[in-house]
Symmetry: C2
Subunit: 695 residues, 2 copies
């Protein structure tokens, strides 16, 4: 690549250079710009500015990866007035390419299109080479690409008795000559294959180079031009493992799939799995084997769905909570089960996929995001990378709710993280009618404050229960229980309707107004669904259910509040709820029950599998790996168990919404019961003093 860039602001006046005619070129979406001598290939201009444009064939017009678009509409805006004739004419090479492969009509091959005048160039993030059927809609997020693995086509010198360099050595010389790779090592497993592959390709071959973190290796080799390379992003959840298959060349996600984590048979939640390892000498090994096998099956599934041979998968990025992380790596997780919750390894890791027997290319590499702390894992790191609290000024609260809630709070100046022991209530465990989110589970609830009659919505049916068609749908599904988001809503609605007090007591006096309020021993309950006497049970919200939710939400809130104390703040600007639970709960009810602090409702959003999105970002851009590695070292880790104020916050957070803070935004959005507004939403000198103390 030549180096004709003179970036604005850094170029120095030079008699020689300024004598040559040049042009201003602006690359979108990066916004990088520079002046280039007329005749410079657009690809070279992009490279010299550090704009990532893929090229497998090294500018030979064979691979079609380096497509660009002249963004005509944006010229005036960027001070460039006309593009007519500013790019060289269509070349024979491009005609030859489009005769074989599809290319959208407004596109050019940047290795052959040359700069003839000022230009705004759009670098598409989605270059289609094969008419591959994409069954899975790529996630909305556009990830700028700079992957660790590159395909590099080279033409290797023939063996020569007078210069008896080995085949491997001539391959490396070609990669140095054409691709500027200076210090490449070759994976041992390739050594015996180099000679036959060179011969099969008539000494024209494509090498896959893994280039990250100072390690540069030839990891795979094919005869001729290889124009396909894929990577996996995998989130190992304790319940579900989710995998996404993306093209490393186009950036697109081609397939996604999920599977239950088979470790569930060793223990439902994290701590029971740790106990299993403690009680069973082979427990760790069995769980490691189980999760790796399940991932192997999942890889086969996404590869088949996308029509991609497993051998073309060259990278796999993993996230998971610390216990999943350790078990996946084959590390004993028991030290994570008690203080000081010592991680065996916290930094990001890279190693060959064959070390753990994944069914991918023999040279493929694994990258695992760093863990933040003993309870705040690589999944939280992935979610942080995805949601980017560190990229802006707004103070962002990122919560991933599971048996432990992982909490990250802060902005570009400072970030703190902790985990809170919420227990499994939010996942439907410990709740009398609770169940996992599945067809038949109640997921939405509204209670009429006057009649105290509920309306419900059930997973699998489109209608609310007051719709005439609901009964039919419910009959076929059955109403089997209530899932996490339903629990949050029913508790929230019971509070808003006055069925439970701010302290969480079910008001027995209401039994006079509604038959749904019934006595259960010494406490009162609310009948949410009456049951049909057959397969569908009565679903009753017990006083103990309310207590379970109070404990869980107070733990989460106390953790959040502790982090706010650390930062010396008493409000957050944005709230991001990650994970399956976070995605399905209605932010309003999260705030009504006081799961999260008060915040404008519009600024609260579920963000789905943010950990998985972070894994995809690390897969497609090694800059994101450095970003999260650096950030994790900077994040301040708070161990809630060591903080005396945690208990205080916890007690005060038992109330609805809580007794810690005012909630002006919530009060503006819903009608809170009067008594509660008076008791807890007024001025509180203690709280204010507390915030001041921590400033």
């Amino acid at each position: 690549m030549n180096d004709q860039a003179k970036t604005i602001g850094t170029s120095k006046p030079s008699g020689k250079a300024s004598a040559k005619p040049d042009a201003l070129v602006l690359f979108m979406p990066s916004g990088r710009r520079g002046r280039f001598a007329l005749g410079t290939p657009v690809l070279d201009a992009a490279r010299s500015l550090g704009v990532y444009v893929e090229s497998v064939c090294g500018g030979r017009g064979l691979c079609g990866r380096c497509q660009i678009v002249v963004a005509e509409g944006q010229f005036a805006k960027h001070g460039i007035t006309s593009a007519a004739g500013h790019l060289s004419a269509w070349t024979e090479t491009e005609t030859r390419y489009t005769a074989k492969r599809a290319m959208e009509p407004d596109r050019r091959l940047s290795c052959h299109a040359r700069i003839q005048g000022d230009l705004v160039i759009d670098v598409p993030q989605d270059v289609q080479i094969n008419r591959q059927v994409v069954r899975k809609r790529a996630e909305a997020r556009r990830i700028e690409r700079d992957p660790a693995t590159h395909l590099c086509y080279v033409e290797v010198e023939l063996p020569d008795m007078e210069k008896p360099l080995g085949d491997a050595d001539r391959l490396l010389a070609a990669l140095r000559r054409d691709w500027d790779f200076d210090d490449l090592a070759i994976d041992f497993h390739l050594l015996a294959q180099i000679q036959p592959i060179l011969q099969a390709g008539d000494y024209k071959v494509t090498a896959a180079i893994y280039d990250d973190h100072g390690s540069r290796h030839v990891i795979a080799l094919w005869p001729g031009l290889k124009n396909a390379a894929y990577g996996l992003a995998v989130d190992i959840g304790s319940t579900t493992i989710a995998a996404h298959l993306s093209s490393l060349l186009s950036g697109r996600t081609l397939a996604s799939a999920g599977a239950p984590n088979p470790q569930i048979r060793f223990g439902e939640d994290l701590m029971s799995r740790v106990s299993y390892v403690m009680m069973n000498p082979d427990g760790r090994e069995a769980m490691t084997k189980a999760v790796r096998e399940a991932i192997g099956v999942l890889i086969g599934k996404v590869a088949a769905e996308a029509g991609v041979p497993e051998d073309e998968i060259l990278e796999a990025v993993f996230v998971g909570n610390p216990i999943m992380h350790h078990l996946f790596l084959g590390i004993d997780p028991t030290p994570l089960g008690g203080a000081p919750f010592a991680l065996a390894v916290s930094a990001a890791l890279t190693f060959p996929a064959r070390d753990i027997g994944l069914p991918v290319n023999q040279g493929a590499r694994v990258y695992i995001l760093p863990c933040i702390a003993g309870h705040v894992g690589a999944d939280a790191a992935g979610a942080t990378l995805s949601e980017g609290p560190h990229r802006g000024e707004p103070v962002t609260l990122l919560v991933d709710v599971g048996t432990n809630a992982e909490i990250v709070l802060g902005n570009k100046h400072r970030i703190v993280a902790a985990s809170s022991p919420t227990g499994p209530a939010f996942e439907g465990a410990e709740i009398s009618g609770g169940q996992r989110a599945a067809p038949g589970a109640i997921e939405r609830v509204r209670i009429d404050a006057h009649t105290l009659e509920p309306r419900i919505k059930v997973i699998g049916a489109d209608e609310w229960s007051d719709d005439p068609q609901f009964d039919e749908a419910a009959a076929s599904l059955g109403i089997t229980g209530i899932c996490g988001s339903g629990i949050i809503e029913v508790i929230g609605e019971m509070f808003l309707a006055g069925i439970i007090s701010a302290d969480g007591v079910v008001d027995g006096t209401l039994a006079a107004r509604s038959k749904r309020i019934v006595k259960d021993g010494r406490t009162w309950s609310y009948i949410l669904a009456k049951g049909d006497g057959g397969g569908n049970p009565e679903i009753r919200i017990l006083q103990t259910d309310v207590r379970a939710i109070q404990l869980a939400k107070a733990a989460l809130y106390a953790g959040v509040r502790l982090l706010m104390d650390k930062l010396g703040i008493d409000r957050v600007d944005r709230i991001r709820l990650a994970g399956a639970f976070g995605t399905y709960i209605d932010p309003k009810y999260a705030m009504v029950i006081g799961l999260v602090p008060d915040c404008p409702l519009k600024a609260v959003a579920g963000v789905g599998n943010a950990a998985g999105t972070g894994a995809r970002m690390a897969l497609l851009n090694r800059g994101h790996r450095r970003e999260i590695e650096t950030l994790v070292r900077q994040i301040e880790k708070i161990e809630t168990a060591l903080e005396p104020r945690f208990q205080e916050h916890f007690v005060n957070a038992m109330a609805f919404p809580n007794k810690v803070e005012p909630f002006p935004h919530l009060a503006a959005a819903v009608t809170l019961p009067k008594a509660d507004l008076e008791t807890v939403a007024g001025e509180s000198p203690r709280r204010r003093g507390g915030a001041r103390r921590n400033r």
Copy 2:
């Protein structure tokens, strides 16, 4: 380590520094010197000058590896007049150390002995820690040490909930803090072991760091102070595999052993093994498996002999000819069987020993020396490293004789290399009475020029055949054949006695003088041993045997001459004969039959397993790895088959000694037959012109 060195010539005058009292310290044998502030530990002074002094415990006085001697006798010579009080007093730590371990009385621990005045310090290359029985005399050569693998003792911070770095990460932090390792990676197989090892060692552990070629890895870890680390140097010959086990910490060779190469059952010589691969689809795999297994057994043998657990072997360095090299690595060697003799890989290689299943530490690394050309392998590179033609002015000829003779010629200015197809005659094949060197084989021969009666010496008997005790010894051994060195001598003596002419014809007219000259069909033979009619055969040197030796020695000589032509020289200063054959042949007879060019007899020497010595050098000093890697790129490779003059030299070299050059040194040492002196040893205008042409 502090950095108090001001090396002479580079130190700048500085008011502050020159105000402090300092002293001149000279380290032997390196000769490096510098001025150091009084009170500087000798170890720090050595480190800052780049003088290699081992230390496992990092200056805690525990490992005893950093011993030094004050070289009192050399003071005046180096301009230092007295050492009294120039080193700090004996410390309590040293007393504690010597209470537990042996240390020679004149030694000090350099981590605790501090500079108090001018000193000459001797760094011993052999530091004994355990009273290990050394059964194998270490080879005479003293190899300066700078191994790729270091043991580093560290005290790791305890897990801390407030700073939740993983155990692996705190280990790396300790290695950075105490040993300045900045960018260490940890081998994947260690990950799951770190936590239990740290706990077992109470967070005091010893890490083995492999640090070579920009790759820095933690490859092994032990609880507490580990004070033992070993390495292997292995020469994979086509006939014999030789292994040496050395301590990486003291540099001593503790055990050596050899074993037959089991590939012999697939083919006696190299080309028959290549043919075997061509004919058998699984041939390559079977031979790779066989040689790796044999090496595994050999490792067990040397480890047992030295009393070293295999787990403490952290490195293995290999040399071998190209075909052995490829088969060992699992690479198809068939391209080496024909032009263009393409090596699959020629550069030096490093990879984990577990990739080839060696029974050593799981993290041990393999280093393989580079190959020079398709017929000039890593063994020749090892021999070159050992004999060092590139280190001096004298033009050195290095020859390793096998089925192919590998030839290296040159000096510090320029080196050329080639191989000559000598065939197996020197190894006793194709010779009627030939056999491998083994008890009962004739190895020495003298023929009385008047009586034509021979005296012989047989392997396994100390006496010559004219000694009265010989018959008894011979009777118990039997005289079974003649080995390589015996063949060279009998041909040389036959020539000197006039039994064969300069053209190699057995003179039948001598039958009149001796019954040992007998007719065999149309040619004549010489009866070397009469046989006893029982188990011991008659050993007869046939005309065809003479011809076989003529062909072999002419091929070798022609190769040497071709290289001399390339360098434009007509004499060499030194000749080094490597390998088993080279070690046992008498240089005089090598010159009499014209195996090598004329040279002062004193300058010709057998050097034993030079390839193995080169491997040991690369094992103990990574500087030697860089040295041979650089040199191999600079060596000019000559393919004899492509050189038109090879055939001409070959034909002229068929004569004894040859028809190419004069041999003044040989003529001064032995009485050459008169006729021959007239025919070939006189002035030869053609040859002189030839030499001039190549200048």
